[in-house]
């Protein structure tokens, strides 16, 4: 009944490795589903919970709001265009992104920390009770810090590796990917510091840490699967 948590900064390959480990060991794989389950418990859109984890205003969100605002402006000025990518965007300087941002936004509603953390705890403990799962991030390694039959894996990777991952996966330009990586990493640090008073790269919170700048994903998955063998033996 092993449960494996894998934590790492965005772009380090945690999702890919997690899927490979789950496939290899025939385990359930839980990534954003963690949040969608917590959202169901709280009865609020998942964006509310994601906003708790990613409180730093993300570039992509800003871009989304920027596009939205442009659409509204275009609509008001009678400029028609294809939804989402209407004419007029090219006429605004990039610094307008910042002008258009504000606190919160999107569907995020107010959610108090206690309710949030209770929902997160419930999802993590339910998954642990069910067993046979690979869980990606969301502080699961802290919630299940001392849980039985659980392996906690930390990943790290140099900035250039993470930027390249984002460029390949999200089709970002290099600078855009770098901003995204930096912002989300800051948000991740804030999230873990706020709720568990820990830094995500602190090795003592994991059974092992793997440097994805020095190892390919296949090898990392095999190492984790091998280490998980100790949990069932």
């Amino acid at each position: 009944m092993p449960v494996i948590t894998i934590n790492g900064p965005i772009g380090c390959g945690a999702v890919t490795i997690g899927q490979m480990v789950a496939e290899q060991l025939q385990l359930n794989f839980v990534d954003r589903l963690f949040f969608t389950e917590a959202a169901r418990i709280v009865g609020t859109p998942v964006g509310t919970l994601i906003a708790k984890e990613q409180r730093v205003d993300r570039f992509r969100d800003r871009l989304g709001r920027f596009v939205q605002t442009m659409l509204e402006r275009s609509a008001m000025s009678g400029v028609s265009g294809e939804p989402y990518f209407g004419r007029g965007i090219e006429n605004l300087p990039p610094e307008t992104y910042m002008d258009l941002t504000g606190e919160g936004g999107g569907v995020a509603q107010k959610l108090d920390d206690k309710t949030f953390i209770e929902a997160m705890n419930k999802v993590a403990h339910d998954l642990h009770a069910q067993g046979d799962a690979v869980i990606i991030g969301r502080g699961a390694n802290h919630i299940l810090a001392n849980a039985a039959h659980t392996l906690h894996v930390g990943l790290l990777a140099p900035m250039e590796v993470r930027v390249k991952t984002l460029m390949d996966r999200e089709h970002f330009e290099e600078e855009e990917a770098r901003i995204h990586v930096e912002e989300l990493e800051r948000a991740r640090e804030d999230f873990l510091l706020k709720f568990w008073k820990v830094h995500p790269s602190e090795a003592s919170h994991y059974h092992m840490m793997l440097n994805m700048g020095k190892m390919n994903t296949k090898t990392a998955a095999e190492v984790i699967a091998h280490a998980a063998g100790d949990l069932t033996s």
Binding site: N28, R32, T36, A39, V46, G47, G64, G106
Partner: protein
Amino acid sequence: MFPEVTLVTPTRDDIQRMADWLSDTEVNTVWYGVGTDGKPLHTSYLPEAVLAGGESEWDHVFNDDNRTIYSVYSEAGEHIGEGQLAVEWPLLEARADLLIGRKDLWHHHYGTSALIGLLDHAFGPLGLHRVWVDVPEYNEPGLQMCQHVGFVMEGHMRKTHHKNNEWFDSSVLGLLSEEYPRRRAKLMETAVT
């Protein structure tokens, strides 16, 4: 370029065609299979039961605020399939289901076009925050199509999908409103080139 499709309110003729398509083993095998009575299963409603029922049964299925069912029509004006959005309003999310019943149009991107139509509607007029799909392991083309459109693998659960007395793995993939514009744009770029 992706083929043009339109999503419209179903007619009784459309639902009869759905019943015909679903009775084809090749179609229901990639869908929900058949029930213990040997009749093909469908999501949300059973076409034959709706056709046999009266107006109230029809209204119950097709005028439901929590579930929108569309017939998919090709550019040539032919009915080719069905799309559904089952909405959970408190969560601002919907589960999407899509079936292209015309087998001769499989693998010609009609599913992709119809899925984009569903997403445009979900994130546009309906104002939803998340759309998700549950794809069983035996529908690999469906999984690839959803990922191609921009859905993210949120979880993969072992032996949770039951069909024809067998249990199958299934993948839950989701797409958020803030993720959709960029991915849609990239998809359209690839379609042009």
